[in-house]
Subunit: 195 residues, 2 copies
Amino acid sequence: MSTRLTKMAENREKLIASARRAFAQQGYAAASMDSLTAEAGLTRGALYHNFGDKRGLLAAVVDQIDSEMAAYAKSVGAKAGDAWLGLLAEGAAYIEKALDPEVRRIVLLDGPSVLGDPSQWPSQNKCLQSTRNTIEQLIKDGTLKPVDPEAAAMLLNGAALNAALWIASSANPQAMLPKTLEAFNLLASGFLTKD
Amino acid sequence: MSTRLTKMAENREKLIASARRAFAQQGYAAASMDSLTAEAGLTRGALYHNFGDKRGLLAAVVDQIDSEMAAYAKSVGAKAGDAWLGLLAEGAAYIEKALDPEVRRIVLLDGPSVLGDPSQWPSQNKCLQSTRNTIEQLIKDGTLKPVDPEAAAMLLNGAALNAALWIASSANPQAMLPKTLEAFNLLASGFLTKD
DNA sequence: GGTTTAACATACGAGGCGTATGTATAATAT
DNA sequence: ATATTATACATACGCCTCGTATGTTAAACC
């Protein structure tokens, strides 16, 4: 039961969980590796062995959060009536999830600075690929105008994430959310062949 | 001629210019304040006196770049036939300017991480206010559907900046630019009352 | 059961930031 | 005009953090 691989996997999880807290509360730059490893009952040795460096640890944390977001958005989108409404629902789900301070700080603010353009991340790439497929299908059946599917997916995704950042730092987030979702849906309807 | 105020202003400019190079080439975190001040013929003493801390220096650099971008976008937008085409032209100008590696690295990647949500920056705020006014006018004259002007301006701005990041890190930026601009215009047309 | 391997801990060195103090020059007052 | 003051900037110091190099212990394998 206490085989090496399972123990290593447990330690990885501990470190990711601890880093997630530290990065969320203090930001990536201010978070000390000594502190967060100690909080996990380990040392920097474990960290460097498992993730290479501080950047690798952030990549693992971002991947975890991003995957959670994508899974939730997809599940919400699947419940919608058709593919088009599903796309809108996914966008709305993304915006709501990105209102979480943890997501904002780690994924939206520090992530791009340390890891580069989000569309190149494995997690985001999977998400983009998924919405791209949906868009291609909607173009085929005539729901959407013939537009570059990659560019369209990226624009919708980017607008959603940026919107979350804006809502969160606004004076009254609760009031801005519905207005923004309305504007987002209107914007997305620009791709429709007809109203 | 060599009054204290003018000399101080000159030194401020020197430091901003040097920091702009250093932040663009090495990134904010990796840029050393000793190096960039030495390159400007000064020391960290001048830096801390003028800008408070490293963060203050970045804020000054971001403000300069962002203001240049906004001025350019506005000048391009003013040349367009009407207010609606002007809005699209401003978006396109923003995307093109943001393809500059310096802009990407400093304003789009490091800026949000260190300074927080861009829509709260003085420079971006001015830009958003401007497009918001244009949108309000376009709603009044019936060109655009009744949508929250602030949210709409933010969505267009965010989509444009995110698009630039995506284009720049794509395999073939030159080929993606026109496709993306087409998709962006289509997206924006979602706000129009009619095609 | 001995050997090897690897996951993790410990120890070390380098570099950067922020502050506290020092200095020289321009502005001001008498 | 000279003495005083204020300030823009330089210098010096200490603390913290990261990355690596080495050491140690326990599981895996023959």
